[in-house]
């Protein structure tokens, strides 16, 4: 049971390379700030281009999900 959970789990660390890549695409911007409990932390913000891209990706996802759903129903 433990093994299969491990296999499906996405490591949290892999978030960061992905974030940097998205930042280089210009979809998010980042700046250093201070968190609620007074620690230096990096804050990410969605840019306008990012919001547009998000919409595109959302539509893509919906189309894919709908297609998968259809396939699952017919079988």
């Amino acid at each position: 049971m433990q093994m299969s959970e491990d296999a499906l789990r996405v490591e949290e660390g892999s978030l960061y390379p992905a974030l940097y890549r998205i930042e280089q695409q210009g979809w998010i911007t980042s700046e250093w700030g201070v968190s609620e409990n007074n620690q230096r932390a990096k804050f990410y913000k969605l840019t306008r281009a990012g919001r547009k891209q998000l919409q595109v990706e959302e539509e893509n996802w919906e189309r894919l999900a709908a297609a998968v759903f259809k396939v699952m129903q017919t079988t």
Binding site: E11, S14, P17, Q24
Partner: protein, 528 residues
């Protein structure tokens, strides 16, 4: 936009590597800290909380590596690493490096030298104001080979044609020039009065010929080349009006041609054509001379007239002259070609052949160096096996090896360029004196670009097969000391024998080509 931002980020990653890395580390550590605090709040001991946070985070090293790939200098950074490493490897094997560089230098040098000739003779456009409208009218005999134009035909061409703004005749010969006490042998061109208008050049000093000076009985006048003016008269402004003697006859200098203008090649002085050829002035002598040619004809096309249109008109005129003067003209035809084609003519085929030959030499050099690389690959097998075990991808290794061979090729190119520059001087001395446009042969920017491109392509060409070959190996076998006659060795040997076979084939082609070249050269000599 994206590329701009990416490049900026890459450069930042490259230049400020340390601070970018520190920033990433700080961010990742913050993540771990927050996750651990969360774990403590849900009831774990601090120790447990930290370990759980690390577990869910995944491999610290891998995340850092991936982040560096995104944020770091990327390709550029690895390229710089590859170059430094490559240079170190080349320094470590001076014998190998020297052999390879010299082999390549010979090949690249030969190519550079021949290309400089091709560049100056074939590629560079003519340096006259009207270059693209300049044509030559060639007279051909029954065998279709070029013969000199007869004065009578030239006069008829000029009278009957409509496509030329100017059509000029030239008779090139050598002459004894004396001015003051010194005399020397110079190349002289006798031309029709409109000669300079054809080329559209302006006199440096004085004037060119006026139409009347073509006629017999007019005062003999001459135009000097800029070079002659400089070296015989020291650039004296008052040279106009002075007298010089050509073959014992006195000529008055009326003008000086602009610097760089020398047509035909090496001409030092021009005089009007017809004053020295009295037969041209009287109609009956002209007719008698219809069968005797000694001129060449250059023309300036009217704007908008193509070479083909000019050729068609001239064909009609020649056909008419054939009917009119069957005795002398029935076997003659003519051809209008661009002046560039006229000048370069027969030499272009020979030059391209020569370029092909030196390209083959370079290919042989490539095969040789590839062979050397393969031989060396055997001794580097362990190094490569270790790097693969440590996680280097094949792509990365191939790129590393290719960078090394391109470095080799560039070094070869640099030495080759020196050899080539020397070869250019040698060629200029060896080329026949009447070789067209020979004085313009030099190593210019285009030749430099050519050498660079050839070196680069050479590096990839000879490096590719060995790079693929030496990264394809069985790690277990090659890590063992006894992995001497592994499958990789057999494959490598196959590639090496392939290289030797192609080398022999190329050499054979080269040898046969050289033999044929020599034979046609001998035939040319015997007909001349």
């Amino acid at each position: 936009m994206y590329w701009l931002r990416l490049t900026r980020a890459r450069l930042r990653g490259l230049v400020r590597k340390k601070s970018v890395e520190r920033e990433v580390e700080e961010e990742l550590r913050f993540h771990l800290r927050m996750r651990a605090e969360e774990n403590v709040r849900s009831g774990m001991t601090p120790d447990e909380a930290e370990r759980a946070a690390q577990r869910s985070f995944g491999s610290w090293a891998r995340v850092k590596e991936a982040s560096r790939d995104v944020k770091g200098g990327g390709m550029l950074e690895t390229l710089i690493q590859d170059v430094t490493f490559g240079l170190r490897m080349l320094r470590k094997n001076p014998g190998f490096t020297l052999t390879a560089v010299m082999t390549l230098a010979l090949g690249i040098g030969a190519n550079t030298a021949i290309f400089s000739v091709v560049n100056a003779v074939l590629l560079r456009p003519l340096q006259y104001p009207n270059a693209e409208r300049l044509v030559a009218v060639e007279e051909l005999n029954e065998k279709g080979s070029r013969v000199q134009v007869t004065p009578a035909n030239f006069l008829d061409w000029r009278k009957q044609s409509t496509v030329f703004e100017h059509l000029a005749a030239i008779f090139a010969r050598t002459s004894n020039l004396s001015a003051g006490d010194e005399s020397e042998r110079i190349d002289l061109a006798m031309t029709s009065a409109n000669f300079f208008q054809v080329f559209g050049v302006k006199p440096q000093l004085g004037r060119f010929f006026v139409p009347d000076e073509e006629k017999a009985g007019h005062n003999p006048v001459t135009v000097l080349s800029n070079g002659l003016w400089q070296h015989r008269f020291g650039g004296d402004q008052s040279v106009v009006g002075k007298n010089i003697s050509l073959d014992g006859q006195t000529y008055t200098v009326v003008g000086v041609a602009p610097a760089g203008f020398q047509y035909p090649d090496k001409t030092e002085a021009w005089i009007p054509l017809f004053q020295l050829v009295p037969m041209m002035s009287e109609q009956q002598d002209v007719e008698r001379a219809r069968g005797f040619g000694f001129l060449s004809a250059v023309g300036l096309l009217k704007p908008g007239v193509s070479v083909k249109e000019a050729h068609e008109e001239m064909t009609v005129i020649t056909a008419r002259l054939r009917q009119q003067y069957p005795d002398t003209n029935n076997k003659r035809s003519d051809r209008v070609v661009s002046l560039h084609t006229h000048l370069v003519g027969d030499s272009s085929a020979a030059l391209l052949l020569l370029l092909g030959a030196v390209a083959l030499v370079l290919l042989i050099a490539c095969a040789n160096v590839a062979n050397l690389l393969l031989a060396r690959a055997a001794s580097r097998q362990k190094e490569i096996a270790v790097r693969i075990t440590l996680g280097a991808t094949r792509l990365r290794l191939v790129r590393q090896l290719l960078v090394e061979s391109v470095l080799l090729a560039l070094a070869g190119g640099a030495v080759g360029l020196l050899l080539g520059a020397w070869g250019v001087e040698l060629m200029k001395r060896l080329l026949p004196v009447d070789f067209p446009r020979a004085q313009g042969i030099e190593v210019d920017l285009r030749v430099l670009g050519f050498a660079l491109l050839v070196s680069f392509a050479t590096g990839v060409a000879f490096g590719f097969a060995p790079a693929l070959q030496s990264t394809r190996l069985d790690i277990n076998e090659s890590l063992k000391e006894s992995g001497r006659d592994s499958a990789g060795d057999a494959r490598r040997n196959r590639v090496r024998s392939l290289l030797v076979v192609s080398e022999v084939a190329l050499s054979l082609v080269l040898l046969v080509g050289a033999g044929l070249l020599f034979r046609s050269f001998m035939r040319l000599q015997s007909t001349a």
